[in-house]
Chain length 220, copies 2
DNA sequence: CGCTAATCTAGAACAAGTTTCAGACTTGAT
DNA sequence: ATCAAGTCTGAAACTTGTTCTAGATTAGCG
């Protein structure tokens, strides 16, 4: 029988979180395990904040989080998994923060653009961290699909929140997907120095106009 | 003084290619060097076609192309550089091919969507190659910016071609950028198995509607 | 308490990208 | 034809992600 295994998963920090955006708490973890996991994620974010993707070296993460290399790999089967998990973690924060002060815009498109720009500003404060997370996200192969999908759902939830929609139409979901595409890709161009902050802003605002197209009289 | 160094760059295969999409032929190469370069790109594409990004191993590329490892690195300073160059190469082909049979759609949005779907179908024929190229492209860091930018310009040219525009407005260029974002990101979701081909099609068609937004009476 | 299975640790080992180096080869110029 | 400078080769070395192993620990159970 298992050794460390009990304690309830203490997710759902933010009140009524949609089940679709809550991580599927697979095997419940011991307190010590939960603590290890947090230490690892913390070390990962910290190293990433310093030097971006390259600075997150597995041996360093292991050392910083006081865990053996093998253990690190037991928790996160690859560097990409680790960074995607780090992103999930950060996104949860972000979503919580964004919920508190909902965007002010009149129309849905404006609110979404405002929300994304707010998120973008947050990323600008830790550009290296953003680099590590976004690079990992787009570099992830099939073996990380579930986790990446989770991030995607969380992002979708944030956008739908901003739109103020309960039951989006298929067309609106398409628009949201395209917005997400633009969001990710625009971040990449910014991170690799091929687009300015202003440029990203324009792209976001441009793509958000798609929302008007799917619901000319959009509001809640 | 330089040793191997002369011969004119024999780019511009396709007649009147816009200067903005022509590689800035830096130091002209010897014929033997040009041949080496081609062998390398060929080996790269071949290995990529087999097993995607991971199958393109620098030692293997070197061996396949009958070049020493050090030489390979002299031509392409990193695996990412190599794969991005491979993409440039493939894109040139693609653009040439696409030029021949221009899209039929009435409206600009339709023509762009049709063109991109055509390109998408081409990629589907070599999914592993697509994987290698696209992953490299989005993973590229600042050191590869010039090359990635070149790919971006080439892509822009293809889209503008499909739109049939000579002097796009700033607004239209924004739309094109957003379309490119969507194109790249949608490819990624497809390659990582998180979106179906049908899904990609919808996303492309959705984003192309932005064009109508910037030019309601769009045509040539 | 004492047992058993799972987990953790330290460290070696392996894989693939990248760098380095000494010597052989080419090239353009004298 | 010869020379100087730049290029190519083959091979070793180095780096960092990933895997493997043997032994120490920990957790849950009777």
């Amino acid at each position: 029988m298992p050794a460390e295994a009990q304690v309830s998963a203490k997710v759902n920090k933010v009140a009524k979180v949609d089940a679709r955006v809550t991580a599927p708490a697979s095997p419940p973890l011991t307190e010590r395990q939960e603590a290890r996991r947090r230490r690892i994620l913390h070390a990962s974010a910290q190293l990433a904040s310093r030097g971006g993707f390259d600075a997150v070296q597995m041996r360093e993460v292991a050392e910083s989080s006081q865990v053996a290399l093998g253990t690190l790999y037991r928790y996160f089967p690859s560097k990409i998994h680790l960074l995607v998990a780090t992103m999930q973690d950060q996104l949860e924060h972000m979503h919580g923060t964004l919920r508190k002060k909902p965007p002010q815009g009149e129309k849905a498109a404006e609110r979404v653009a405002e929300t994304l720009m707010r998120a973008f500003r947050a990323l600008q404060r830790e550009p290296h961290l953003a680099d590590a997370m976004v690079r990992a996200l787009t570099f992830a192969d099939r073996s990380v699909s579930p986790e990446v999908d989770q991030v995607s759902r969380q992002t979708t939830a944030i956008i739908l929140d901003a739109m103020g929609l309960e039951n989006p139409t298929a067309e609106q979901l398409s628009a949201v997907r395209v917005i997400e595409h633009t969001w990710h890709s625009a971040l990449i161009t910014w991170l690799s120095g091929r687009a300015s902050i202003a440029q990203v802003k324009i792209d976001i605002e441009t793509v958000c106009r798609l929302i008007d197209l799917t619901a000319p009289d959009a509001h809640e």
